[in-house]
Amino acid sequence: MEFERFDQPEKSDEFERELRQAMERRPAPPSLKRRILQKRSARRTERHHTTMIWWQRVAASLLAGAVLAGGFGWRQMEERRKGEEAKQQLMTALRITNQVLNNMNRKLAEHDRGEK
């Protein structure tokens, strides 16, 4: 098949030889390397800057999270403390009421005995 000759460069004809010669690599512009290195350096700086900003955002998020968690924890502790305090006050009130009722009960009993 005619395609097979592409596997055998020695079979190329005069036209292909001319074409090969015409298509030699062209020299790159002298400034190309400098521009590539400049862009590379600029990108690295930008990437470094972006990374720094990213880390700053992570740190700020962590700090905000810690503050929120701390606030939430403090609020819970405060509510628990207030609950305990209210419980203690209620217990004290109940004890006082109990004492008063006991005293009244005793006085009523004494009064009943006096009448008999």
Partner: protein
């Protein structure tokens, strides 16, 4: 144990800038666009440096990415509605900086009028001296398609040269 190859970016640019630039120029037909493509290709190489395993890998990687970035650039220009071939005609009419014979200039001009796939196959074949199998691996196409593109591209180019370059070429 064999020491792992350590790529040097600047050295790779030195060695391959001419290859990347020439592929991009011949594929896009636009010097300015070819410079942009070459810059992008090397900046992408910089991002992929850790994955490059050997000098051959670097060369093949650069060829493959240069071809695909050139195709992308052409597509973008088509989408933007720029009449590339009119621009090419203009640019080829202008004086060329490098020392090129009139025949070489005219052949490149004719090459730029071929369909993209045929042009890619011919550029890789005659600029880079690749076999159809290597071209197929570079452009990620079946070998049979590459051989067909080479055959048709060469036939079309020969026909165009017969009309336009008869006075220059003996082997038409």
């Amino acid at each position: 144990m064999a020491q792992r190859w350590q790529p040097d970016f600047e050295q790779l640019v030195d060695e391959h800038q001419s290859m990347v630039f020439s592929l991009a120029w011949r594929m896009t037909g636009d010097r300015g666009l070819a410079e942009e493509v070459a810059q992008d290709v090397f900046l992408e190489l910089d991002r992929h440096m850790v994955r490059i395993e050997s000098p051959e890998h670097a060369l093949n990687w650069l060829r493959r990415v240069a071809m695909s970035r050139s195709a992308d650039a052409l597509r973008r220009r088509r989408v933007r509605g720029v009449d590339l071939w009119v621009e090419i005609e203009d640019k080829h009419g202008a004086p060329v900086e490098e020392k090129q014979s009139p025949l070489e200039t005219r052949l490149e001009q004719l090459l730029s009028t071929l369909p993209e796939a045929q042009r890619a196959a011919l550029v890789l074949r005659y600029q880079e001296d690749l076999t159809p199998e290597e071209i197929a691996a570079t452009v990620e196409a079946p070998v049979a398609t590459v051989k067909s593109n080479l055959h048709r591209g060469l036939k079309l180019l020969r026909a165009k040269a017969t009309t336009h370059l008869k006075e220059y070429i003996r082997g038409i």
